[in-house]
């Protein structure tokens, strides 16, 4: 009995796994087609913006939705650069994002090290204060912060952007938890050998913390580059504006010159798309491990 039933059962399993195989393949094709449809929807707005920006305004008015114009031109880009402001906005955005990222990495890693690896009076209280700050969204502080910077006459400077961008509690927490993952014996041994705490921080802990450094650096940079509400309030002079604020102002002056409007959108989007293409892996890993939004 058993000698007969055994092959029969295995044949049954085999047949079942064949249908399963077939079903799995069918399912994979289904997944892929859904993904391709959504991928098309996701790329079209970006392609359409680039496409519009390269057409002469006359063609856009005549046949607004034909993808192929035949007479490509970079006139819209030239016009934007001739206005002369966009170069300044690029510079402002770059300097503000860079200074914010550098200062945030330095100040927050030092504080994170102090919390993770040294004992001082009030450490628990300070840690609690920093953790509580996680709950405060910067958006609810726009009114008092504006008053503060207005009182010390720092509106329309880099400082009004950079200083609040350094005081970000999540960056301290990221560094503290990363340093906690590095064996404490390392610090102790170096300390017994007479190394100062500053030296331990700078020559032992920081070189081991490249993932945390790059996560905080990239996120501060991208966040400040794309920040809108706070720069809109505090950078009102055309020469001090960041790129997003400048773009929101310039677009209204173009009226229905869609090529110029789309050229400015493309120029606004381009730098970070390039950064993302270069650092895709690090950015995605950073999001997955920290959940910073």
């Amino acid at each position: 009995m058993s000698a007969i039933s055994l092959p029969r059962r295995s044949a049954e399993v085999h047949a079942r796994s064949q249908t399963a195989d077939w079903r799995a393949r069918y399912f994979n094709w289904f997944c892929l087609s859904v993904l391709l449809v959504f991928a098309a929807i996701w790329i079209i707005p970006l392609l359409w913006a680039v496409d519009t920006s390269l057409k002469p305004d006359g063609v856009i008015a005549a046949q607004p939705t034909s993808w192929w114009s035949g007479s490509w031109t970079v006139h819209a880009y030239q016009e934007l650069f001739n206005l002369g402001n966009i170069q300044v906005w690029y510079l402002n955005s770059f300097m503000i994002s860079l200074l914010s990222a550098v200062f945030a990495v330095v100040a927050c890693s030092m504080a994170g090290f102090a919390i993770a690896r040294t004992r001082f009076r009030g450490r628990r209280f300070i840690y609690g204060l920093i953790a509580a700050g996680l709950l405060i969204p910067p958006q609810v502080l726009i009114v008092p912060q504006f008053q503060e910077f207005n009182a010390v006459h720092l509106l329309n400077t880099y400082w009004v952007q950079v200083l609040p961008a350094v005081a970000v509690p999540i960056a301290v927490i990221i560094f503290a938890s990363f340093f906690n993952g590095i064996p404490a014996e390392l610090a102790e041994a170096a300390h017994v050998d007479g190394a100062s705490w500053w030296r331990i921080y700078r020559t032992i802990y920081m070189p081991l913390s490249k993932p945390a450094i790059s996560a905080v650096f990239i996120f501060t940079f991208v966040w400040k580059w794309n920040d809108f509400l706070w720069p809109l309030l505090t950078l009102t002079n055309t020469r001090t504006m960041t790129l997003p604020v400048g773009l929101s102002q310039v677009s209204s002056s173009f009226g229905i010159q869609y090529a110029e409007i789309m050229a400015s959108a493309v120029l606004g989007a381009l730098p970070l798309i390039v950064v993302f293409l270069l650092f895709q892996r690090r950015i995605v890993e950073g999001i997955a491990t920290t959940g910073i939004k």
Partner: protein, 315 residues
């Protein structure tokens, strides 16, 4: 930036060194304070300070037109906000936007991530595509979508007329469509973030679970419902809370695409604060409205905090 609470081990390693000599401990204390000082100074000046000042201001008749706090008004600013129809209208718009964006941004990201995870090759391609719009500044995104929504000559209207819908609504200028139009553009803009969080969550599901299910004859659909989605529940909780908080902070897209209009039909709470504080110069009242708004976001954050703490205890 909004955040996910990260558990930090505080002090365990420090107590291990409790036997250190007093002089050394004094040095260590000084070093700790010194290292923390640059951050703490900025933190007190630009986060803790403004928070406290905002609370104080909300009880005064402050204005951008005169220096100082102005006259003490007690809870007047709060009663005025809570009885103002404009305040409640903009609060409702904020909640409505959150209700419109959160379900598609969570569900669609989940489905697309599961499908992408199934692929043997080309995952990077979809990750790149879906995430790319997320790094585009809101100003550029708003310009692109305003052009897409332009009546008659915009791409969407042309496509709709090609499939026989000749009279589509005037998307951004129609009070009953404006919010949905901005919400749709937002789904396109920010889906990639949730998608990436889900992809990371999927990496942690052991592959042999699927193999075992396969041997038992479970279909792909069953595997998805019985293995993938339940095991992703922690990721889903995280994505959901981050999304609700991000959506409650809506300002950029609406300010740029509809300016809160038509006729205030889409004005969110942050824009209300902006208008009151920086157009009407009534900063005391704007601070009070900010505080009420803060309480809403705080409530969501605290619910999340207690849920994640319970999850951690169970794990």
């Amino acid at each position: 930036m909004s955040i996910q609470a990260i558990p930090v081990e505080t002090g365990a390693s420090a107590t291990a060194r409790a036997a250190a000599a007093p002089r050394q401990r004094r040095d260590e204390g000084r070093a700790g304070i010194g290292l923390a000082a640059p951050f703490l100074i900025l933190y007190v000046l630009f986060l803790i300070g403004p928070t406290l000042y905002g609370v104080v201001m909300s009880f005064f008749n402050s204005s951008l037109e005169h220096a100082g706090l102005g006259g003490f008004t007690g809870p007047d600013n709060y009663t005025q906000a809570l009885t103002s129809s404009d305040f409640w209208q903009s609060m409702w718009h904020t909640v409505l936007f959150t209700l419109m964006t959160t379900p598609p941004l969570v569900a669609l990201a989940l489905v697309l991530a599961i499908f992408t995870d199934r692929l043997r090759r080309g995952r990077w391609f979809f990750r790149l595509l879906f995430f790319a719009p997320y790094v585009v500044p809101s100003a550029a995104m708003a310009l692109i979508w305003t052009w897409l929504y332009t009546p008659q000559i915009g791409l969407w209207d042309k496509w709709l007329s090609a499939v026989g819908i000749a009279n589509p609504p005037n998307w951004l200028a129609d009070p009953s469509w404006a919010m949905a139009s901005v919400a749709l553009a937002t789904v396109w803009w920010t889906l990639g973030f949730n998608f990436v969080l889900y992809l990371a969550g999927l990496q942690e599901i052991p592959r042999n679970l699927y193999e075992a299910a396969e041997v038992d004859g479970a279909s792909r659909w069953h595997q998805m419902r019985r293995i993938t989605i339940p095991l992703l529940s922690r990721t889903t909780a995280l994505v959901l809370v981050l999304q609700i908080i991000a959506s409650l902070k809506i300002f950029d897209q609406i300010f740029l695409m509809t300016a809160g209009g038509p006729n205030y039909a889409t004005r969110p709470l942050l824009e209300y604060v902006y208008d009151i504080g920086f157009t009407d110069f009534r900063t005391g009242y704007a601070a009070a409205a900010s505080m009420l708004y803060f309480l809403v976001i705080l409530a969501v954050s605290l619910v999340w905090f207690f849920i994640s703490r319970r999850q951690q205890k169970e794990a």
